[in-house]
């Protein structure tokens, strides 16, 4: 499964270009999507007094970046660093061990244990993180990890596994069997086959699931909420919430905080957009 779905032959044009109901819905929803984004970006460069006196959708009389300064001074660089540590610290191991598991599941065929593992992960898809937050909290206390970034990382890895394995299994299945066979005839171990053959071949998928998990973990709220307390360990979504709780009446400052916490994600998206889109549509669109 690659990005080949993006190009389609001409007949589609004939079929769909008159789809005006869909078009209407599409453009209308685009408007709905854009307004809040536009509003929050605009508000973040207004002064507080300006915010109350001007039309909320009109550009400000004088653009100010003082709100951003204010947010930066409120410790956001630190929260940003924490979030990067948590995200990388969770995504890299999650993707690697999920890849190993997916490879084993595909290659094992009928092994009872591995089929069980696969089923377990499938069932795991339906288990919401919220449901186990209390015991996770207990476990983290027992491990003496409360109020550390590791406390957020470990459960994040665990909950990233099911979907990651699922998507990777999908991709590894697409690797022609003959390739594996020829590796085996060359006397390569499964371990080597995994890393030197399957791994490079599934790279697009790895990037996709990597980005997807990074998004989820970057935006995670419940784990930091329950498992950390000191501001030094805050991640961005939690910091944003606290910030809003404290400065909620200062809407421009809150807007700036929202924009700042979102920018890194948008940058990541700009880099990995194609992979993410094709990967997701391939993963879900069968």
């Amino acid at each position: 499964m690659t990005a080949s779905t993006l190009e389609r032959p001409a007949p589609y044009r004939k079929l769909l270009h008159l789809n005006w109901i869909g078009g209407l819905a599409g453009w209308f929803w685009l408007f709905v999507v854009i307004v809040p984004i536009y509003w929050i970006a605009l508000t973040s460069i207004k002064t507080r007094s300006n915010y109350y006196t001007t039309n909320p959708l009109a550009p400000p009389d004088d653009i100010t970046f003082s709100n951003y300064q204010f947010v930066m001074d409120a410790g956001f660089p630190r929260y940003f660093t924490n979030t990067v540590i948590v995200t990388l610290g969770a995504v890299v191991p999650a993707v690697l061990i999920s890849f190993m598991a997916a490879f084993a599941i595909v290659r094992a065929g009928d092994g009872r244990f591995l089929r069980g593992v696969n089923l377990l992960f499938l069932a795991g898809l339906a288990v919401p993180l919220q449901a186990v937050i209390i015991p996770v909290y207990l476990i983290i206390i027992k491990l003496q990890l409360y109020d550390t970034l590791l406390a957020i990382i470990l459960p994040s890895v665990a909950f990233a596994i099911p979907l990651t394995v699922l998507i990777l299994v999908n991709f590894i299945r697409d690797v022609p069997k003959e390739l594996f066979e020829s590796m085996r005839l060359d006397g390569a171990s499964e371990w080597r086959t995994a890393w030197s053959l399957a791994f490079p071949l599934t790279r697009p998928a790895l990037v996709t699931v990597g980005i997807y998990n990074a998004l989820t973990i970057w935006n995670g709220f419940l784990l930091p909420l329950v498992l950390t307390s000191e501001p030094d360990q805050r991640t961005l979504p939690l910091a944003l919430w606290s910030f809003q709780g404290q400065y909620g009446v200062n809407v421009p400052a809150v807007a700036a905080a929202v924009v700042l916490t979102t920018l890194p994600i948008l940058a990541l998206y700009a880099i990995g957009r194609r992979q993410l889109l094709s990967g997701l549509t391939a993963g879900f669109g069968r």
Binding site: D147, G245, Y247, G248
Partner: protein, 447 residues
């Protein structure tokens, strides 16, 4: 379920009986450098969590900074939290055995739950060793710090009764007079609504803000005994006719659009409710005395220009409660984590001794926050201050009240408090009738 064991005597803080100025002045707690600290110079005096939002946050931090400057080898690390989030955070941290050394709290039922878990130190002996620390504080401030006859927290900071604030400018422009009774309040409501001004500001999402209304209505209609019966776990205490009437009066006010539009989505943490009053979008607000300071700092010239009016909650016709009664926080409470190291405990006690309610800190509370520290004779500091009139009002309200009761949610156990708050929210959104509210609450009495 845990039954709260603060006795009746504790819960109802009877008249403060503050000796009038001229009695022992609390200079004993002055922050002289001559502290004997048993710290071995290990450096870490542990940590201290307190509530955010200025001016109070700065005062708390300044006190801590003073301490750290004077005692560099037992410095304590301070962290500020928002009110609503803090209540959960502190619980989770205590549960994780990672409580800060000094735990900021409200006393009452919350404190009792920490005591049950063995999370906080018994400070009775410390007070016995430092009798001056006991004598200099308002006697009434100790009730909420006492569980089973032992003191588990150092009463600190300020006494903050709940006050009915009003915007003089708005009243003047509307040609109306501030209310002197509940009936007049109800009459004012349509008059303000006609002028497109909300009669009352209210941060309904925080829920304890709504509760203040019930506290006063219960009290004015039936006296403090009504809630006392609930607190004592009497069967069907909520079905008392006075209680039902009070609940109905609140709903009457809600139905008449007495509260600002969208009140259920406003949170108190952001001070948005105060902004509505200071900006003239609302005419009145029932809120704790601690809001005076933030209205002063954030409300432009609202306070300094003399536009803020305040009064004790007016009486209800035919009610039996004494109109001098008030509700609120008889103080704030600093507990000491039992999980702290000996070194940290020593540091914390030094902090309690030298900086908490020190002369400099009292001055900060009085001058910067417009609040009354819980120190006997503190009113001598008021004269000549810009906020003297307000400070005297708070002092008099607190000291002349026939009963000064602790807020319900602080008095009750966290379990009962949560049940109460969620039902109060439903009462204000008109989801439950007074009778249904009473039924729901009767079901959890004594939990």
């Amino acid at each position: 379920m845990q039954t709260s064991r603060t006795s009746r005597r504790n819960f109802l803080a009877f008249a403060l009986g503050v000796p009038i100025a001229g009695a022992t002045l609390a200079a004993c707690g002055s922050s002289g450098p001559g502290t004997e600290n048993g710290g071995s110079g290990g450096g870490s005096g542990g940590s201290y969590w307190y509530l955010s939002v200025d001016p109070n946050e700065t005062i708390r931090r300044t006190s801590l900074d003073r301490f750290n400057k004077a005692n560099p080898d037992e410095s304590i690390k301070g962290t500020a939290f928002q009110n609503d989030a803090y209540k959960e955070k502190i619980k989770v941290a205590i549960g994780a055995g990672q409580a800060p050394t000094v735990i900021w709290g409200w006393g009452g039922g919350g404190l009792a739950s920490w005591v049950d878990a063995g999370a906080v130190e018994d400070l009775t002996s410390w007070f016995d060793e430092n009798p001056d620390q006991k004598e200099r504080r308002f006697p009434s401030s100790f009730a909420a710090a006492t569980v089973d006859g032992k003191i588990y927290a150092v009463p600190a900071e300020t006494v903050t009764p709940i006050v009915l604030f009003w915007n003089k400018q708005v009243f003047e422009e509307a040609g109306l007079q501030p209310p002197t009774s509940w009936e007049e309040i109800l009459e004012l409501v349509p008059k303000f609504n006609d002028k497109k001004i909300a009669p009352f500001s209210l941060a309904g999402q925080s829920r304890w803000t709504n509760m203040m209304w019930l506290e006063f209505l219960f009290d004015r209609i039936g006296g403090p005994e009504i809630f006392q019966a609930v607190f004592d776990g009497e069967k069907d205490a909520w079905s008392n006719p006075a209680a039902i009437k009070a609940l109905g009066e609140v709903q009457k006010l809600v139905k008449a659009d007495g509260f600002i539009k969208g009140f259920a989505s406003i949170t108190a943490d952001t001070n948005a409710d105060q902004a509505l009053l200071t900006s003239g979008k609302a005419a009145m607000m029932l809120h704790g005395a601690w809001t005076y300071g933030s209205m002063k700092t954030e409300g432009g010239d609202f306070v300094s220009g003399g536009h803020l009016g305040y009064m004790n909650f007016p009486p209800v016709a035919g009610g039996t409660g004494d109109p001098s009664n008030t509700y609120g926080n008889p103080g704030q409470y600093y507990s000491l984590s039992s999980k702290a190291t000996d070194e940290q405990k020593t540091a914390a006690k030094d902090f309690f001794k030298t900086q908490v309610l020190s002369d400099a800190e009292q001055t900060d509370w009085v001058n910067d926050a417009g609040q009354v520290p819980i120190v006997v004779g503190v009113d001598s500091k008021f004269s000549g201050l810009e906020d003297a009139e307000w400070l005297q009002f708070v002092y008099d309200t607190a000291s002349t009240a026939q009963t000064f009761s602790q807020s319900w949610d602080q008095a009750l156990s966290p379990t009962a408090a949560e049940e109460l708050l969620s039902n109060i929210a439903k009462l204000f959104s008109l989801d439950v009738t007074p009778e249904k509210f009473a039924e729901n609450m009767n079901a959890v009495i004594g939990k």
